[in-house]
């Protein structure tokens, strides 16, 4: 890619803006309208409203709590996935990593250590597993898809091998730790708060730090990034370590929330994480998208699971709906990108 690619294969969900003389307000408005985050958020809220109308129990007490609490795990994974996808990679091993870390945390506690040790241990373990992926991908220059597919199998296998048919039961875990699974601060579950803090942190990093912008650059055009002298390998490695660590944290959440960890913890959740990011407008080909979008996408995915039965949709169809959402999202991206190109062409027209 020596010149900026005009090839439509690389979708640009965040369409470039033509140079319009200072119309900050109108700019803002039109931006919001075009903003994927907003669109998904609207859908999400609409769902909640409809569900509440149909079933008064929907937002009552613990149901409301669960609505916020349940997505927190996927939220972590989606945040990590965003970091990785922005660099034009993908991490399919997060589910297995989550499992390993959740079980690890449980084991640490049932061995009688303090929950703090367990949390730190899980996060570190996650980071290490992420580093394994990152090293192979960044330095072996092999596609993330294949590598993380492999490590997904390998990590899960390792967990099965380690846990065997053993499971960590609620009784073996520190009660204080388990309470974390449901504790609330002014009606907002603690786990959700932590998750949101993490998301905000990631978002802040991506938006306002050099490193963050470099991640976008790398995903936007890896060749140019190399030619430019950006520390491509270091950044990609970093992204995977972060993704791993977040998966580790998600593992901790898992243990605290479900109060039981067996060897199949977190199976198949990786696709949901990718889906959340994609639905939230993170371009699978890297370079654009925000963690906000991914977070909202995560909320949407989980909430839909809850809402469909209330709307009378046979819950056997939930998978199908998720699939439809993903397709819808990327088709929308494509459409927006296409419109943006046409507009740009027109701009060259007038400037020419």
């Amino acid at each position: 890619m020596s010149t900026l690619d005009k090839t439509p294969t690389a979708p640009s969900p965040r369409p470039a803006r033509p140079a319009r003389a200072g119309s900050s307000v109108g700019q803002l408005a039109s931006d919001l309208l075009r903003s994927r985050e907003l669109a998904v958020l609207v859908v999400l809220l609409a769902l909640v409203v409809v569900a509440t109308i149909k079933s008064d129990g929907f937002l009552r007490g613990d149901s409301f709590r669960d609505l916020l609490l349940t997505p927190s795990i996927l939220l972590m994974l989606a945040a990590g996935q965003t970091l990785v996808i922005i660099t034009r990679n993908v991490d399919l091993s997060v589910g297995s990593t989550l499992g390993l870390c959740a079980y690890g945390a449980g084991e640490i506690m049932s061995a009688g250590h303090s929950p703090y040790v367990a949390v730190v241990g899980a996060v570190v373990l996650g980071a290490v597993l992420g580093a394994v992926n990152g090293t192979i991908i960044a330095f072996g220059r092999v596609p993330a898809l294949v590598v993380t597919l492999g490590t997904m199998l390998a990590f899960r296998g390792a967990l099965l091998h380690w846990a065997g048919s053993d499971r960590v039961n609620a009784a073996e875990m520190d009660p204080g730790f388990l309470d974390l699974g449901t504790a609330r601060i002014v009606t907002i579950p603690v786990l959700t708060i932590i998750a949101l803090v993490v998301v905000v942190g990631v978002g802040y990093y991506l938006r306002t730090s050099r490193g963050g912008r470099e991640l976008y650059a790398i995903g936007s055009d890896p060749d140019a990034a190399g030619l430019f002298g950006l520390p491509v390998r270091r950044r990609v490695l970093g992204a995977f370590v972060a993704s791993g660590a977040l998966a580790g944290l998600a593992g901790v959440f898992f243990a605290a929330r479900y109060g039981g960890v067996s060897s199949n913890a977190g199976e198949n959740i990786e696709l949901q994480a990718v889906a959340a990011a994609v639905i939230g407008g993170v371009a699978i080909f890297g370079g654009s998208g925000t963690v906000w979008g991914a977070a909202i996408g995560a909320f949407l995915l989980v909430t839909i699971d809850r809402v469909l039965p209330i709307l009378g949709v046979d819950d056997f169809y939930q998978q199908a709906v998720v699939g439809g959402l993903i397709l819808g999202a990327i088709v929308l991206d494509r459409f927006l990108a296409h419109r943006a190109e046409r507009r740009l062409a027109r701009d060259r027209e007038v400037t020419a």
């Binding site: 979708p11 597919l149 296998g157 699978i284 939930q318 990327i330």
Partner: protein
């Protein structure tokens, strides 16, 4: 990973191999390595794993891995064009579901039901193909979406039902061996036919040449008049159709249809294809290599189970094989490059300036 560095790695490999005599070139290929490994594992198992040398071993092995073998054929072509299809297993489940419904609820004659099912597979491929080839969406995202969609439809259609009671003559056919008590299921025959057909298509046709060109450099392919979109559409439709066949076979082999049939099979298929020497970047790989790859995984599975190794260990091994098989080439070039680099540095320039950090202003 910058593509041009990869290209350079690839170039070096090409030069290296072309510097050597033909025989060596053959031996140095991935396909050969996989084949050798397959033979080695097979012989080892025969000699030292108890029960492996019985006639049942191969019979079970083929019967069980036929869906993977089937799906690997079109998947190879898809991956050689640089795309991927993660939705094959879900397509199998969906076609299975439709087969069952068509047979039990719509009371179609079984042959018709099978035709309908395969048709549905074709349609699934068509959906993937249109979105990827003509709407130009990344196949990874699309097929992750359809993976969920097709599986979800299967679950929706079947719910808790388990559909069974297919005509004996078909279920038997799916399991019949060529000879009484022989090691080779009859269904191997259609597979071999398909394999040959795909082999000719990929290696001895203009279409196949186009498939490689798309994978190596789609821009150049377009400039030589290869119809990229159509090629990809055809490949995804083929994949869908074969997935349909596999779904039907799976249903007959298991004797039942459930919404969770063939779950996660796509990973095994892709693993096998990549293990067989197909480059995920496209443009490289051969069908014989892939078939060797599929069989390698199948034999490993069967042998280790016989040896009482738990599946999780097998998973670890296959996962590592997969990763190893993709880093091997880059690793080699890296090592050789390192060697060359060291030589040069020592000969040419004694001192190398370490750069100060970029001035930030």
């Amino acid at each position: 990973m910058s593509t041009d560095t990869i290209e350079r790695a690839v170039d070096q490999r090409t030069y290296a191999s072309y510097a050597r005599p033909l025989l060596w070139r053959v031996i140095a290929t991935r396909e050969f390595a996989v084949l050798a490994l397959l033979v080695a594992v097979f012989l080892y198992s025969r000699s030292s794993i108890e029960g492996f040398d019985g006639p049942l071993t191969l019979y079970f092995l083929f019967g069980r891995s036929l869906p993977i073998m089937l799906l690997a054929l079109p998947m190879t072509l898809v991956i050689i064009t640089g795309e991927i299809d993660l939705s094959v297993a879900s397509t199998m489940a969906l076609t299975g579901a439709v087969l069952g419904i068509a047979f039990t609820e719509w009371d179609l004659p079984f042959v018709m039901a099978m035709v309908v099912a395969v048709g549905v597979g074709l349609a699934c491929g068509l959906l993937n193909g249109i979105l990827i080839a003509y709407v130009r969406l990344p196949s990874l995202a699309v097929t992750i979406g359809t993976l969920a969609l097709f599986r979800g439809l299967a679950e929706g259609f079947l719910g808790t039902d388990t559909i069974k009671g297919f005509p004996e003559k078909w279920t038997d056919l799916a399991k019949q061996a060529t000879s009484e008590g022989g090691s080779y299921p009859i269904v191997l025959i259609p597979f071999v036919v398909l394999a040959v057909a795909f082999g000719l298509l990929l290696h001895f046709s203009s279409f196949g040449r186009g498939v490689y060109e798309i994978g190596l450099n789609d821009e150049a392919a377009r400039f030589t008049g290869v119809d990229i979109a159509r090629t990809k559409l055809v490949l995804f439709m083929l994949t869908g159709a074969v997935a349909g066949l596999a779904g039907v076979y799976q249903a007959l082999y298991a004797g039942v249809i459930r919404s969770d049939s063939a779950i996660h099979l796509e990973l095994q298929v892709i693993a096998a294809v990549l293990l067989g020497g197909v480059s995920i970047f496209g443009g490289r790989g051969t069908l014989p290599g892939v078939i060797a790859g599929v069989l390698l995984i199948a034999v490993l599975n069967s042998a280790m189970r016989l040896d009482g190794v738990r599946d999780d260990v097998t998973d670890i091994i296959i996962g590592c094989l997969l990763v190893a098989s993709v880093i091997a080439p880059t690793l080699l070039t890296w090592v050789s490059g390192l060697a060359r680099g060291r030589v040069r540095r020592t000969t040419d320039h004694p001192s190398t300036a370490t750069a100060p950090p970029t001035p930030s202003k």
